[in-house]
Symmetry: C2
Subunit: 403 residues, 2 copies
Amino acid sequence: MATSSLAPPEVPMELHAGNRDRLLTALRAHLSATASPPRGIALLQGGEEQTRHCTDHLELFRQESYFAYLFGVREPGFYGAIDIASGQSILFAPRLPPDYAVWMGEIKPLPYFKDRYKVDLVFYVDEIVQVLQDRFSQHGKPVLFLLYGKSTDSGNYSKPASFEGIEKFDTDLGTLHPILTECRVIKSEMELGLIQYANDVSSEAHIEVMRQAKPGMKEYQLESIFLHHSYRYGACRHCSYTCICATGENSSILHYGHTAAPNDRTLNDGDMALMDMGAEYNFYGSDITCSYPINGKFNSNQATVYNAVLKAHNAVISHMQPGVKWVDMHKLAEQTILESLKNEKIIHGDIADMMTRRLGAVFMPHGLGHLLGIDTHDPGGYPEGLREAKGARTELLADHKRT
Amino acid sequence: MATSSLAPPEVPMELHAGNRDRLLTALRAHLSATASPPRGIALLQGGEEQTRHCTDHLELFRQESYFAYLFGVREPGFYGAIDIASGQSILFAPRLPPDYAVWMGEIKPLPYFKDRYKVDLVFYVDEIVQVLQDRFSQHGKPVLFLLYGKSTDSGNYSKPASFEGIEKFDTDLGTLHPILTECRVIKSEMELGLIQYANDVSSEAHIEVMRQAKPGMKEYQLESIFLHHSYRYGACRHCSYTCICATGENSSILHYGHTAAPNDRTLNDGDMALMDMGAEYNFYGSDITCSYPINGKFNSNQATVYNAVLKAHNAVISHMQPGVKWVDMHKLAEQTILESLKNEKIIHGDIADMMTRRLGAVFMPHGLGHLLGIDTHDPGGYPEGLREAKGARTELLADHKRT
């Protein structure tokens, strides 16, 4: 029987108010630096529930990440606004039909959302034009700063808010995205607390998987144990990403576990397992991979590879500190792995030469790591003026996704 | 410790070949009856993997249901075709880039899909125009019958297949959808076998939830137990729908459990639970609801309501047989419930009068049931010529979704 020391924490909604303050500070600084009028409204549209193809099957909704960052709203169909001059925050809730109460649940009154999400004002979505015109037009039509920009991980563009009557406002598509994205890079203490908790849940769940794994089981049974431990004891309904429960040769497939490679192999005695799984709590995620022999005992080849990775991991951790370049840490990891493989006579030759030829990428085709937050690959980290760092990082990761 | 007698069955891919045969028979009969040329190609496009909003977070893919019905393909990015004259079935697989093997898994050769999915021919998606022109143009440009029609449950339209070069063919948007939809209504023995298995899994998982439920737990912990039992022991990675784990007053909300009402109440001594959960196996689903007191003992009010529903349930089952009208069974259920409530002096008056005024809809706002298959609300069942039945059913369900 599984046991757990987890205690799902109350979610501090002040966290999202803190995120809004961070955005306000950054936006005001930007407007000041560009000698622009110190006003306007940052307006975001939350996600909508989606049906699966043409059916009425509703996918379990998870809020769009930028909207979650600023407002923490779990429900679909919202808009959110922040008035740059006053700092006021406004939520616009969907007006639900009366039979929603029979089918979907209690129709919450507006003050419920004001209290829950710690915003200054709440209206209905169908009031958005009137509210913005009546309350925020003392300096003429307010400029709406909309979220539009490219995700450097997916290549997809965020969809700017749209609503009936938006043509009555001036809109700005270029300002908000880069500024908000950089806000997300440095986490507050409250954000770190949630990320820590999600990682605590995942650690415990990984250990439970490790305890139960044995030859003859299926990979998906390990996934199920992880999901169950995270949800039952950790209150994590979502994972940060689809569980990667790879054993045997599957362990070499970085993003194994999806529908076309669905964790369906039978575990053998002598297999290594590579378990890459992370739970999510109140939007904040985790990302933990661990490798171990299914039968509980490393053979010598397994130990060699494991120790090479461990040595690289420890080398990077001991060198990490403010001011150190990411790219140098990536190279340190590659070099440490190559040295270990050379010591074990798995590869031969001059390490400096191997580094020049990027041989390390054969053994570590992915990046050293990535930012973690509301997205597993949290955005940002390429501030203007640091093109050199971005270029170097991009080169290292050329033709690769981040893992 | 949970135990299980479940043994996930091999999936018979002949099932989908059987579904294709059913479609062929129906299409040929239709073309014959309308004196149309007995040829053309039914062409469907499978689903694509979706990222979450602008991020690179990939949602776990589940195949589009019509495509799953005909081809059983679990992977995204496919097209499938059936040549009406010859009966040949053709799959078109996406051509994957070489680094797919590093990131996503082994690139399966075309014969793998031919063998796995029991089709006659397999090509790449980028060969679709050439294949259709070279092999199926002996009578001139083949007509492509594309899937386009409205889901009566969601009001959404299915998206017809599209690909570069489709303008080189004649296309027909009206024929395939109603015919294929009606094919899905009557299930084959193999389909029934999978539906039975999914229901067996769900039954066992419901019983496990019932065993473990007790005051002080959270509703989501019951959901987690169900999901875990279905996946770990039943190999069911998907559910037919989001789990509804409703206790106390939540039990009166028909589709509780979604993100805005997320199974987060604490169970109290004295609560009734309404658990509406169903696992899915190889696309085929289940849908089981059971109600019981969390502390294991009905109080007299709970027993009254439970028995009223049970009596209606048993009345319908004992009257069901070929030729009986659905609407009459719905009315029988309503009348039986009203009679029970009158006997218990919860309502007063003339039952016939209550029936005329549709008082039953207050206590049973949903339909009596629905078709079940690859979708939880499986489509079809409104064959042409039965408008009367449809009208009556629609009236009964006026302003309501099916549950």
